[in-house]
């Protein structure tokens, strides 16, 4: 589970870094990824790999539409109103998904069978390995993108200083679109890989989105490494709690962690921003 939380958290991070917005429709990207996958493999009978690619692309397109229709028209509004619009967007997407797919929960196909594997006395679903593997792949790909490509660097530059980025000839608008596309794609990836474990449903995005947000806060909003660490940590604590106390409290435990993090480390909320401001004041 932690692996997919980490990917969801990375989706938040990308948009937050580009725009200072917390995109509360992130969970809906996850839900859409899962449902697209179910339809593509089920109704259209595609095999896993092409269905994966199409589902990711379709969700990325939804991300683009969200940016164009909801975020772009508000480019001069303050951050808080835009965040509220993303909440509206998430309700809208959930509504559309309910109309299209109904209220049923769908079981997605496991990537490589659902026979549990036994390792050192623990039984693990093969899908869990896919989750971890794909998470590692995503993290590495993002690192390469940000460190070694000029587009990735330009995206970081937009986050640090929009005016200077404009003066360097960076088209900030395109970068925003790109960040939503990327984040939509990441959400979809997370949704697809956990759909076999958790079932895909029109409102699955609410809980997953909030968990991803928890992971972000836990790791420090705006930090990619933080998102991954926070995601994994949350996954582990959650399962530990479910095992030791009761699986009924699984979600409660996640939100308890969120509250504790907010109470004890409120400064951990925006460590990146603080760092930047401290540097600028020098």
């Amino acid at each position: 589970m932690g692996g997919s939380y980490a990917i969801i958290a990375l989706g938040y991070t990308i948009i937050y870094n580009g725009t200072n917005i917390i995109n509360f429709a992130q969970g809906e990207f996850v839900m859409l990824g899962g449902l697209f996958m179910v339809t593509l493999t089920g109704k259209f009978g595609l095999s896993i790999f092409p269905a994966f690619l199409i589902a990711v692309a379709a969700t990325a397109l939804v991300g683009l539409l969200v940016e164009r229709l909801a975020i772009h028209p508000l480019r001069n509004a303050d951050v808080m109103s835009v965040i509220i619009v993303t909440i509206g967007m998430s309700i809208l997407l959930r509504g559309i998904a309910m109309l299209v797919w109904g209220k049923d929960a769908y079981a997605a196909q496991h990537f490589s069978g659902d026979k549990p594997i036994e390792i050192l006395g623990a039984t693990i679903l093969p899908q869990s390995f896919w989750v971890i593997g794909i998470m590692i792949l995503v993290v590495v790909a993002l690192q390469v993108f940000y460190r070694f490509t000029i587009t990735g660097k330009a995206m970081l530059a937009c986050a640090v200083n929009k005016t200077a980025a404009r003066l360097m000839g960076v088209n900030v608008e395109n970068m925003l679109m790109l960040s939503f596309v990327l984040s939509g794609a990441l959400g979809a990836v997370a949704g697809i890989i956990i759909a076999p474990i958790t079932l895909a449903k029109y409102d699955a995005g609410v809980m997953l989105g909030l968990k991803g947000f928890c992971a972000c806060i836990l790791g420090g909003l705006g930090s990619g490494t933080g998102a991954v660490v926070g995601g994994l940590l949350l996954g582990v604590i959650e399962s530990l709690g479910a095992g030791l106390i009761s699986s009924g409290y699984k979600d409660a435990i996640a939100f308890l962690i969120l509250l504790i993090a907010l109470f004890l480390r409120p400064q951990g909320l925006l460590p990146l921003k603080e760092m930047m401001m401290r540097q600028e004041s020098h």
């Binding site: 000029i150 660097k153 640090v160 200077a164 980025a165 003066l167 360097m168 088209n171």
Partner: protein, 244 residues
């Protein structure tokens, strides 16, 4: 090379520029001096395309650029080093330089960009020494050098410098001004904005004096240095000294 014709620019509800005209010839350093709020930065931001003039026109080699986007204007060879440096503080010094080459990322291959990085590092050796450090950890003067170097990475024909000596230690000021001269000697055209009229007039060829959105005076540096009003208001000579 650059001709600005009676531009009027609004800044929010305020008319920041009330019809400003000036021109810059190839290979000269032209300075715009004036107090805070005279509209100096507004002029540069309009030339760079960040602001749109309400009326008037800006010509680069006789073709209008005032309707183009900032990205298009940089591509045409007009590069601004903004006021307050505005380096990408969390990125490394090297990455800042590489981003300077963003406008020509499609034309130039990596080895060409690397060569240019070496070139600007020769101009500012300190940047090579610190190439892995986060830009935000540099001193004010070093950040200013980085900001100028970053602008140069776009291979501009005209460099717009907005207050490059502001908040910079005196030794660094001298070095920055020397570099500006060196660039001009290498064929660069420079528009230099300064509140520090001393510094500006010591390197420029011609100058314009701005007051509340208007050009009130222009001439060669020698003429400006002789002007009583300039001496009094901008060079801080005593009232008596000037009028005696």
């Amino acid at each position: 090379m650059l001709r600005v014709r009676s531009i009027k620019v609004n800044y929010g509800a305020i008319r920041a520029l009330k019809g400003v005209s000036f021109h810059v010839k190839e290979g000269e350093i032209v300075t715009l001096i004036g107090a805070n709020g005279a509209g100096k930065s507004t002029i540069l931001n309009t030339v760079s395309g960040l602001l749109r003039p309400v009326s008037g026109e800006i010509l680069l080699k006789d073709s209008p650029i005032h309707k183009l986007s900032p990205a298009q204007i940089v591509k045409l060879g007009v590069s601004q080093t903004p006021e307050g440096r505005q380096v990408f503080s969390t990125l490394s010094v090297r990455d800042n330089l590489i981003l300077g080459a963003y406008p020509r990322r499609k034309q130039s291959d990596k080895s060409e960009i690397r060569k240019d990085v070496e070139e600007v590092e020769k101009l500012f050796p300190i940047l090579k020494e610190r190439n892995k450090q986060a830009a935000g950890t540099l001193s004010g003067g070093e950040q200013q050098m980085l900001a100028i170097a970053r602008s140069l990475m776009a291979r501009p024909k005209i460099l717009l410098l907005d207050e490059p000596t502001m908040g910079v230690a005196p030794i660094m000021v001298a070095e920055i001004l020397r570099t500006v001269k060196k660039l001009r000697d290498g064929g660069m055209t420079v528009v230099l904005i300064e509140q520090n009229a001393h510094a500006a007039l010591s390197v420029a060829d011609r100058g314009y004096v701005l007051e509340t959105g208007r050009v009130v005076l222009d001439g060669t540096v020698e003429e400006l240095l002789e002007n009583k009003e300039v001496k009094r208001a901008y060079l801080g000579k005593g009232y008596q000294e000037v009028w005696e």
